[in-house]
Amino acid sequence: MSLHHPYDDTLARFAAGTLAAGPSLVVSTHVAGCAECRSRVRLFEAVGGAMLEEATASSVRPELFANALKRIEETAERPTPRRVASPLDRVPMTAWRSLGGGFAWRRLTLPYAPDANIIMLKVQPGQRMPHHTHSGTEYTQVLQGSFHDDYGRYVAGDCIEADDDIDHQPTIDSDVECICLAAVEGRLRLRGFIARMVQPFLGL
């Protein structure tokens, strides 16, 4: 389990553009607030540049260049550096739905990846999450508040990658509600009373 930042191979896949849409959204959110990981992504983008440079040159039809010339002559608009919004800004999400017992959740849907399992979970201070394991890798970004489990303590800005061998029961230890963004590669398995209550709602 990575405790505070995504693994390097995850950042490499993010930089390469090969990371799945759900995990990619979580990593975007983390990277936007983490200079160290931005620098690692830059490093892997440089790897991408080197790979492009050494790629086998494939012959291209001459029309490709002719068409490009035509297109660049057509438009004369000047580029404007775009101000990048928060990665979550334009993601459609449901309203918060209470699960009782100090838990609420909402589902995020990416129009370009409707099958991606992405949720936000909001937990009241002092609550214990249900004991759970994962059947795939789960990517979690702490958006607000903090919690701890047997492995460590996590605060807003931290990103946690948990594999299927992780069985943990996080406890919220902040004064404010703890809000997490999570993308699951596989199905999330939950145990215990709240778990049985949560699972049908999550549809995971």
Partner: protein, 204 residues
């Protein structure tokens, strides 16, 4: 990814930069001519250098010929339009071009998914990093260091890195290529990456 393709991915290319003898500094000079003088001859040389490589890179990543050509053409049109946004202190031209091509490839896949699902078009979050002053300070000679470091990687390290860039399912491909059970691939990949990153950063 078919085995034949994996083998091609695995075959390490010779000549790190340009068979045509185009150096990293040459590319920067060509970019400056395009940005400052709107020099079409310089643009032609950039097109000639990058379009065949982008098509080659995309085909290796499993993108069909027609789509690979579309990505290459769109990338080069962006190179012209965004030329003045390119900052030679930040990254090599190849790295900048790689990020444009990567975003276009992601965009193309997302548009296809939306079309299949009949979802309306919306602004897509792209992989775009906003740098702080502190990020810029360490940019320096990153590209040159990364290129040198990539020559020192072991076969397994090179495989892990390449498949991260060329495969949407790198773990399964790595398991097949290196003959490791899928279950242990993740930890092996993370170990390999943990060794690769310091090499790339030249900190070892």
């Amino acid at each position: 990814m078919p085995i034949a393709l994996v083998r091609r991915v695995m075959t390490s290319d010779s000549s790190p930069h340009g068979r045509l003898g185009v150096t990293s500094d040459d590319l920067k000079a060509l970019m400056a001519a395009v940005a400052n003088q709107r020099d079409k001859a310089a643009y032609g040389r950039l097109f000639q250098h990058f379009a065949p490589r982008i098509v080659g890179f995309m085909e290796r990543a499993g993108v069909g010929r027609t789509d690979a050509e579309e990505i290459a053409q769109d990338t080069l049109v962006s190179v012209w339009r965004k030329a003045e946004l390119y900052d030679p202190r930040q990254a090599a031209v190849s790295t900048w071009v790689f990020t444009i091509a990567r975003n276009l490839r992601i965009d193309m896949a997302r548009r296809a998914t939306r079309r299949r699902n009949g979802a309306a078009a919306m602004g897509e979050p792209e992989i775009e990093l906003v740098d702080s002053a502190e990020d810029e300070a360490i940019a320096g000679e990153r590209d040159a260091r990364v290129r040198d470091a990539m020559k020192t990687l072991s076969r397994e390290q090179a495989t892990v890195l390449r498949l991260s860039f060329y495969s949407e399912k790198p773990h399964a491909e790595i398991a097949r290529e290196l003959g490791i059970p899928l279950g242990t691939v993740k930890s092996r990949v993370r170990l390999a990456m943990a060794k690769i990153r310091p090499l790339l950063e030249n900190e070892s």
